[in-house]
């Protein structure tokens, strides 16, 4: 026991880094980390789901972080610390984006991963902040501002995903959004009906075949294997869609983006 204690003391004395950290970086557990409590629950859940499915579909990894205080350092310094720790975006592709907001200090920054600097330029980040986000912040409407900002970032970095999922920024929302939505939902309904019909047809066909003895009698095994496959597909779809797995993919940042205050 004494030995262990002295060993611990020795280790502690060799590593005197255990000090008071001035700026605490929260652990990354969700796409929307609302430490300052300014985003309403519905918006937060919607954004999380959208950002998760964007990342799962091979898109960029975008996260939102709000904190109550910077503890005296600049927002640029804090932001680069956060992304160095979180490593948003895939390794080598470096497609991470952090939307970082400090509401009490009226500071905001979009930190852009190395791989996205060509799309989401500094100037464009600045424009998104000034035109889509901070006008709402001035009215204390953080949820709308953040939602608009995230939607803009998505439509810049992955326009295809934005089109497919009806992610539009508010400015040109109404008409396009409606038509796009109804079209895609119609298509989806039609597709799902088609698949159900196909599955029923196949099942009926198999039954008929097995009755006539054209398929070996061990149809139970067939059946279980088939349904197992289906179940697996379904469950994996669920877990990736609604699961809470959100951690950095190893992306790198070099300080691109823009900061502002409102």
């Amino acid at each position: 026991m004494h030995f262990v204690l002295s060993l611990l003391l020795l280790i502690l004395s060799v590593y005197p880094k255990v000090g008071v950290a001035q700026f605490q970086i929260p652990a990354l557990t969700s796409p929307v980390m609302d430490q300052a409590n300014v985003i309403d629950g519905v918006t937060s859940r919607q954004l999380s789901a959208t950002l998760q499915s964007l990342y799962d579909s091979g898109g960029p990894q975008i996260s939102v972080l709000t904190i109550p205080s910077l503890n005296g350092i600049s927002i640029e310094e804090a932001s680069i610390k956060v992304v160095d720790e979180w490593k948003l975006g895939r390794k080598g592709i470096d497609d991470g984006v952090l939307l970082f907001i400090v509401p009490p200090e009226r500071k905001i920054r979009i930190e852009v991963g190395k791989g996205l600097e060509g799309h989401l330029t500094d100037a464009l980040s600045r424009r998104i902040i000034r035109e889509s986000i901070t006008p709402h912040f001035k009215n204390q409407d953080f949820s709308t501002g953040i939602r608009n900002g995230v939607n803009q970032i998505i439509s810049v970095t992955s326009p295809d995903f934005a089109k497919q999922n009806g992610v539009y920024a508010e400015r040109r929302s109404s008409r396009r959004n409606l038509s796009g939505d109804s079209e895609s939902s119609m298509a989806r309904k039609f597709l799902s009906l088609f698949f159900i019909a196909l599955i029923i047809l196949i099942a009926v066909f198999r039954k008929i075949l097995s009755i006539f003895g054209l398929i070996p009698r061990s149809s139970s095994r067939h059946h279980s294997g088939w349904s197992g496959g289906f179940g697996q597909g379904g469950s994996s779809g669920w877990s990736s869609g609604g699961g809470s797995h959100w951690s950095g993919g190893g992306g790198g940042f070099s300080g691109g983006g823009s900061s502002d205050s409102w």
Binding site: I80, D122, F253, S254, G255, G256, G257, S258, S259, S261
Partner: protein, 198 residues
């Protein structure tokens, strides 16, 4: 068999902990981060011609400030360093040149405050945000370079890796990247460059 196993285990631990691998790796890291610093400075120089052109359109009689920027840029771009074989003197000269460019740019941005039409120009505001972004990239790259030098110097000076260094590599302790006097002045006036909305 166990002898071979034990000795290979010993050797692998020895290789990992002694610095045979980590000292050259740290040296490469220092070179890579220095290359990043110079490339970000280059990015800044590339922005300047457009910036000067836009400012000239609105504030043509601020000739002194504009020529100062152009001259400082010319001096800074004439000075390049090869990261893998740079001498401390070269780096100091490079820092000085970039520092005076930072200073001249800082003055230019302060002056631009006096021209509402310039500030309202879309090109100018885009260039300004690019310049701010690049200054931030320079800061980030510089901090990473400083960290890399620190890591390298730790390996070279702190046992047991320092013993390996004195036996095999003979790397001297690397001079830390310092902020030149001209740059320090800019850093102190930096808030004027950033967030200059109203």
């Amino acid at each position: 068999m166990t002898k071979i196993f034990l000795s290979s285990l010993f050797i692998s631990i020895f290789l990992q902990g002694c610095g045979l691998q980590s000292i050259p790796q740290a040296k490469n890291e220092v070179d890579a981060t220095l290359a990043e610093v110079t490339s970000q400075y280059k990015r800044r120089s590339d922005l300047i011609p457009n910036l000067v052109a836009v400012v000239q359109g609105y504030a043509s009689h601020e000739k002194d400030t504009l020529t100062a920027v152009v001259e400082a840029r010319a001096k800074a771009t004439s000075m390049t360093i090869d990261p893998s074989k740079s001498t401390p003197e070269q780096i100091a000269a490079f820092q000085n040149a970039q520092g005076s460019l930072s200073q001249a740019l800082g003055k230019l941005m302060v002056i631009s405050e006096n021209y509402p039409q310039l500030k309202a120009d879309r090109n100018f505001s885009e260039l300004q945000s690019q310049l701010e972004g690049t200054e931030n990239r320079i800061t980030v790259a510089r901090n990473r370079h400083i960290e890399a030098i620190k890591g390298f110097n730790n390996l070279v000076t702190v046992p047991p890796t320092s013993w390996t260094n004195s036996m095999f590599y003979h790397h001297p302790v690397m001079a830390q990247w310092t902020v030149s006097a001209a740059e320090a002045e800019v850093i102190q006036t930096a808030p004027k460059v950033e967030f200059n909305k109203k």
